[in-house]
Symmetry: C2
Subunit: 391 residues, 2 copies
């Protein structure tokens, strides 16, 4: 794939000239590092796909939690952003005035907080129950705030979502009875369609059928879904084959990870984020211990595709992080000729990058072995710690 | 067990009188909440055990990462604190001037940062290689800083640690050649001795034997270990039965968790930290979805003891968090009569509390259903985000 280089400088200004470039080897470990060229390429690729197929791109910020990358996504044509938490909404309100909370908004504290998002931000919320609708209707009425609502439908993930077109119609009609709420459409999350992209055909076919039934029943009941929102990263590339889909919400594509690569939804050369770690012990035969454990890598298994361990070593794909403690990662060297020494740095491609980002406050941007920039994971966590009742 | 209540108010001042007590139900979820009475009891119990048996208590702060709880530990008699990261050292230097980094200190950036810890703090580092020793020796010489060193020995965990008494003797003698480093003793981590406390007898017996050999060989080689440091939470209560042990480093005991309870190393009534969550969907039959997923609970399995899922519901111990996404936890209700509704709050006892704390910035302290206080997880993360090269 040809890589776009023309646009990459604007969103990632390099350090002030007075600050000399820092070598990767000078960074304290463990820390996530992002290859800036790969990131720029990933952003371009998804934006281009969506433009080509006329799909609205509303990327999920859960993967990067960074206003800087979100601003890039908007600049490249995203119609708005998808969030999962109030914190993500608060941070991303500075970047986009069109935010979707793709999560049932339940609970007085959370509702109150979300209603405080500045009113120039157009809010959309996805939900799947009368109970959640009732809470949202009351809050929006009190705060005199229009909120668009998607009915969440379950197309096979069995996590959230109404269970039938009949239920979807009923909930859509309920929404219409609660101005200032607006019924805007439906949302689904095809996270269960994780099989290797080459084997997805049957699942995509089933999705076409199931979604078609929902849309037809909603249409005939007079509650046409203006927006049909779906698409995780592995499935996003197939969404132009699913009639009716108007919007996709991929998150992982900005960085990608071992799962995405093994699924075939990206190449290994598209994995933009690695965890830089240092070998701290070789005392036990057959293994090397690195300073990235579950508190740096997350204890995430591979999903929808085979793969042992919790991450793979960049440049040594035969070596995985076989075991972890909180701050120790154990590289299994039993089947490798590689012989890393105490003090050597290694880079790990994690199984699930969204969890790695959530574990870290700062990300470094690199090109080759030069650290060009860094950014804060501003929407990590639940709240600004200053806001707590510190006694 | 009788609970101490006399000391609990000093370390946890309640809110200013002007601030009315807040109900637990008013908290935004997901959030960790700590039962203050249980916490006080747990702190007392370990301190009393160590006092009774003449063991120096050097608690590991990785579990709470909070200077406030560390100050309590010191007040109750801890000789100092154990840390795993430079950030933990930096934060805890305000609380204690006797800190152990129970982790190989490798890499120029990390060494430089640790050498900047104020010199009034007595630093001890555990290590298991000549390479790590060489780096530490060079750094301590440059910064003219005395550092005590423990030789880390592997007594069966097979994670880090020299592999034989001969290697321990050799490394101890190397330390002696590198003033201002001081050889102070040995450290081991009996994390592999996780079996149910009733079944630990054989493991404790083996530990007595193995440790005895190490101490004897070190003694006869003229490198007597002044300190013999060991003891995780599940095994701490047996350390008085292991001759030679002078110091224990339990961490988890402050909060305990499902694993600790299932192991029998604490009672269920000693689990001080739960994750407060809200039911956000009941759409899919047989399950309830809560707003605590892997980004709030951590995807930690049970260790050394059977147990499905990622946490158990307080008051409904037959219900576990069976599956998770990043922000969704799926409660399996298939074998329960409990019928929670959208909007209901639940409290989850997590499998592994240390990882939960690391995922959160703020902890709320509660008594019954009243929120009395909160504190920041100040040593969470790797660095103050302000310190990053923000462009």
């Amino acid at each position: 794939m040809k890589r776009s280089t023309t646009q990459r400088r604007a969103p990632f200004p390099t350090l002030e000239p007075a600050e000399p470039p820092k070598q990767l080897s000078a960074l304290e470990t463990p820390t996530p590092v992002v290859d800036l060229d790969r990131l720029a390429h990933n952003l371009d690729r998804m934006a281009s796909y969506c433009t080509l197929h006329g799909l609205a791109l509303r990327p999920h910020v859960k993967t990067h939690k960074s206003p800087r990358i979100a601003a890039d996504q908007i600049r490249l044509g995203a119609v708005g952003l998808t969030c999962a938490t109030p914190r993500e909404l608060e941070v991303m309100g500075d970047v986009s005035h069109d935010l979707l909370l793709a999560y049932p908004l339940v609970g007085a504290a959370k509702l109150a907080r979300v209603m405080y998002i500045p009113h120039q931000v157009k809010l959309t919320v996805a939900l799947d129950s009368s109970a959640a609708l009732g809470q949202l209707a009351a809050a929006s009425k009190v705060s005199q705030r229009e909120v668009d609502v998607y009915v969440e439908v379950d197309l096979g993930m069995h996590r959230v979502g109404v269970q039938s077109p009949t239920d979807a119609v009923a909930l859509a009609k309920q929404i219409l009875q609660h101005p200032p709420l607006n019924y805007a459409g439906i949302a689904f999350y095809p996270g269960h369609v994780r099989e290797h992209v080459k084997d997805q055909d049957a699942n995509v076919e089933r999705l076409r059928g199931d979604l078609g039934v929902y849309i037809a029943e909603l249409d005939s009941a007079g509650v046409h879904p203006r927006v049909v929102s779906g698409g995780s990263t592995p499935t996003a590339w197939r969404m132009h084959e699913v009639p009716g889909v108007t919007e996709v919400r991929p998150g992982t594509y900005v960085y990608n990870d071992r799962t995405t690569a093994e699924l075939g939804a990206c190449g290994w050369e598209d994995c933009a984020l690695t965890v830089l770690a240092t070998v701290v012990s070789r005392a036990v035969p057959g293994q090397a211990v690195i300073d990235a454990g579950s508190k740096a890598l997350g204890r995430e298994p591979m999903r929808g595709v085979a793969g042992e361990g919790f991450g793979v070593v960049l440049d040594h794909p035969d070596v995985v992080v076989a075991r972890m403690s909180e701050e120790h990662g154990i590289l299994d060297l039993s089947t490798s000729d590689w012989n890393p020494q105490v003090g050597d740095q290694v880079r790990i491609i994690p199984n699930h990058v969204c969890v790695v980002v959530h574990l870290n406050d700062v990300i470094y941007g690199v090109r080759d072995s030069i650290v060009e920039t860094s950014w804060v994971v501003a929407a990590r966590g639940r709240t600004e710690t200053e806001a707590a009742i510190e006694s």
